[in-house]
Symmetry: C2
Subunit: 574 residues, 2 copies
């Protein structure tokens, strides 16, 4: 059950992928010196390993519990959350003008990487708070920011995102929750939201719900949506939480995993008295939602990294411990640790390589978020392009690695007590929420390829091509360009039919580019020889074995939709 924060790896990726040196050379991020970053990573690592990791199993086995008085978190969670707030770990990336430390998003990403690897279900809570902070920063009024941000920045209060409704899963335009003006600038909210992560809990004295709702006379579809802030407790005149608002947690879902995280059905305005405030302009809900969601999508991609890291650590520990069978080479008849057997070792190296690849992809996007903050418009576009890759491919890799983690454990992996199964169950939600991975793929081939008439995509291809040296990797980059160009002008159904394999190819090309770079740097760098050697091995494995796999997707990424519609829907049941 022990967890070792991957500090050396995080520093390496922050430096060589996220471009930390560039960031800290700016005025805004001048405090993010190597020493500071080291202190933050070591500090949160010690905290996460000591306080959060031991609760990971409790989160799974006990889980959040619904009661009439609200959701009760498992024993130990409220104390561990308080320690998180008091340690200031929530403030790292929060805005300096509102009580945060204003560090680069890339560093906040690394901090959340560690917290989530220690306890993925727990770390989802701060992840959502960050989304609420982003929405308020970009769309809230000065008063709203003053009233809420200082508390959200420390994590003393937590945030939620209320999008989904029973009749509208991925179809945000079909939302029905209503908001009616009360006359004093406030609004009354009525409706039911589902799948609200941390929609209720006993970790904090206040929960700030951000709710998409429809105002009177608003047009149908997404354009009629506005974003509302609905506090669990209405604020007193002094800004402290006062009387309970009319928000009720109806139930929590019985999920396959991520049991620590209460997934709530929330009912707003059962008694006609749910008070909210408009965030931003009326009708600006969808824009505000994307502000929250883009951040959340990167952080869900990061959950893929988190679960992959933890699953890999557990599998490596097991494989070094478990003695079974002699090596097949016949040199000795003594049984060895299973990590010595080639196929187990292949699984472990694959797990390491895929974890590192996912981390590089997400940190690359995070570094570009910071560049965008510093005013680099191209970086903002790169983030937009990379977000669906980071979310979808990051979570796909989290699932693959967690599954390999079970396989390394053999029969023990299927027995719940070992803990490997938890990661597998936990991971499975990540390709679904915050926009299914299919939606990410649609976003990539739709909106993202079209940016600047393909210019953003082609610039990314050129950046990869300018650095990549392996012939297979260069070939994959070429194929990505070829397929991407074709998809830009393809029929919409053909685009969508090819979207998922194309997303995977482009993600692997991007990871291959970053892994090759890291391997090259590790070869020439000075430092811990063990760390540098494993980095080179992981990079080599990735470039030599995983990159060619993605070439196998060319046919699917080039296929048209007609094969999918060659039979009527009914025939799928034949």
């Amino acid at each position: 059950m022990t967890f070792t924060p991957p500090v050396a790896e995080q520093r390496f990726v922050l430096e060589h992928v996220a471009g930390l040196a560039d960031l800290s050379s700016s005025d805004r991020f001048a405090e993010a010196t190597p020493d500071m970053v080291e202190a933050v990573l070591e500090g949160v690592g010690a905290f996460a390993a000591g306080e959060w990791a031991p609760l990971d199993r409790t989160g799974d086995t006990v889980g959040a519990r619904w009661t009439e008085d609200g959701v009760v978190m498992p024993k130990g969670f409220p104390e561990a959350y308080r320690a998180y707030v008091e340690g200031g770990w929530g403030t790292i990336g929060a805005p300096a003008e509102h009580g945060g430390q204003g560090m680069p998003f890339a560093i906040a990403t690394a901090v959340l990487d560690t917290l989530g690897a220690a306890n993925m279900g727990f770390a989802l809570c701060p992840t959502l708070t960050v989304g609420a902070i982003e929405a308020l920063m970009h769309h809230g009024s000065a008063e709203q920011q003053a009233a809420y941000l200082p508390h959200l920045s420390t994590g003393a209060w937590t945030g939620t995102m209320n999008l989904t409704e029973p009749q509208a899963g991925s179809d945000v335009g079909a939302l029905r929750t209503r908001a009616e003006p009360v006359g004093d600038g406030r609004w009354k909210i009525t409706g039911t939201k589902i799948y609200i992560s941390y929609g209720d809990h006993d970790l904090a004295p206040q929960i700030v719900h951000l709710v998409l709702a429809r105002t009177p006379g608003a047009p149908a579809g997404t354009k009629g949506l506005s974003l509302f802030l609905v506090p669990k407790y209405c604020l007193n005149d002094d800004g402290s939480p006062g009387e309970a608002n009319d928000v009720r947690v109806v139930s929590i879902e019985h999920k396959m995993g991520l049991h620590a995280s209460p997934t709530c059905v929330l009912s707003f305005g059962d008694n006609g008295d749910c008070i909210g405030e408009l965030i931003g302009a009326e009708g600006g809900g969808i824009a505000a939602m994307f502000t929250m969601m883009n951040n959340a999508r990167l952080n869900v991609g990061l959950q893929g990294v988190q679960v992959a890291e933890r699953a890999t650590q557990k599998a490596v520990a097991y494989a070094r411990d478990r003695i079974q069978s002699a090596r097949a080479d016949g040199a000795s008849r003594e049984p060895v640790a299973i990590i010595e057997h080639p196929d187990v070792r292949r699984m472990l190296l694959r797990m390491k390589a895929q974890t590192q690849a996912a981390r590089a992809l997400v940190y690359l996007a995070a570094g570009n978020v910071d560049r965008a903050t510093l005013g680099d418009a191209d970086a903002r576009k790169r983030v937009d392009l990379l977000t669906p890759l980071a979310k979808a491919h990051g979570t796909d890799l989290g699932n693959e690695v967690a599954s390999l983690g079970i396989q390394v454990h053999g029969g023990m992996g299927y027995v719940e007590e070992t803990g490997a199964a938890q990661h597998f169950r936990d991971a499975r939600i990540t390709p679904i929420y915050e926009g299914t991975n299919g939606i990410q793929a649609a976003d990539l081939v739709g909106r993202k390829l079209a940016m600047d008439n393909g210019g953003v995509f082609l610039a990314h291809v050129e950046a990869m091509r300018a650095e990549a040296s392996d012939a297979g990797l260069r070939a994959l980059i070429d194929v990505c360009e070829e397929v991407g160009r074709r998809l830009m002008t393809a029929d919409v159904d053909d685009k969508l039919a090819a979207s998922y394999p194309f997303l995977t190819m482009l993600s692997v090309a991007t990871c291959g580019w970053l892994m090759e770079r890291q391997g090259r740097i590790a070869r020439d760098a000075e430092g811990d020889p063990i760390f540098l050697a494993q980095k080179q091995a992981a990079a080599r494995f990735y470039v030599e074995q995983i990159v060619p796999e993605a070439m196998g997707l060319k046919a699917a990424a080039s296929a048209r939709a007609d094969v999918l519609y060659a039979i009527p829907a009914d025939a799928f049941a034949a």
Copy 2:
């Protein structure tokens, strides 16, 4: 929760892949006429859909329960098991000379396909009984056969396989359970076995444990093992179950899935009074084990088919039902069933194609089992070659399809009540038990490639090449030959390092060959146009999109072991 037995598909595959017409033209299988097969498949389909499928959720939510008096199955299971025995569904493939119907193994496979798709956890019980029957048929004495086979053939008594011990997972040679002669031809057994599926239950009045144990003075390793039959109840003189034997069910595992199936820790001889009989020769345990295991491996591959079939049916039903979002082509703004959206449809067609591919692979092996029974020595070798493919790739596909099934359901897939999650959890054991898929890959590149100096493998390649027409498929077959030839003479570590990707490539080539054939036959055949159209679409999707993916594995299947050993074991934790 409804389940529709895939009778048309099964008949098609039995005819065009398993070669049923050839079998029924033999004297031995003359009764397996098309009419008879139709009746059997329809009959077991109706039974499974009516009696077993409704218990699938109960099996998961209630599960088998340990008590001091033994394992108690969930409500409804004992009655449903009795109905299975009374319906004669256990007897289909059982030997005619011992109360069975002596039908081809391929038909028994189709029957078990249906039972397991209806209720995978339940169907594991008869699956194990078949293993016990096989062991007794091939290695038991006439007396043992007479005493046990009539009861096992009907399923009135059930069987178990007792291999694994705590200190010896995949390393059978490390087993310690002891057997000491009592003097009257019987033996006393002492030891503890783990992971014993259906090691205890209340479905039947007798359980026949087949136990690997070590006799006094036996050599170390696998050569010192013998197989013993240990009944739960010692037989009375009239052959009926009498006094309890000294076998205790210590506990059952708390598993991620397959909750209906009690996975037992069995303690033999706690009171020094566990009586068993030797099956076959002393020291012949490993040979007898392989008899059981080869059959069981095909049947575990079949579990991949079962779970894939059920997951696909559930996902298709959901996707036809769930209305969400308009088509992206803009032709209408009306929301449609999600099966109309290209990426959902891609997932569903992939599920169908992969399910059919897995079924073809397993039924191909099953048909060859029957050919071997009819005296075709080459067929026996083909079974040996195909067994690791059917087990490993069949179960890999079961997992992939079950995961896609969750994805099609979106958020609902992660909520346990929907049932999609159960299939995902159930499926995950199949790549582990009956020899992990890594062991299957080792078996392929070790023993199986070496058969007849590569002749068996090359004959399989030639059979594929003689029929395959798609250029991509032919290219994959060529690569399989090239890689396979290299692996025959490769260093043992290099063989093992490449074993898993090679197994996948060869499996996909084999499935591609069979899918292409089915698509061609469906194009020219007369019959239900809906069935034939979906078969062609699935075949086309497989050949056009999945076959090329496997080409992407060439690099990994050609890679040497050195990358895995480029770093010391310690470095995996860095």
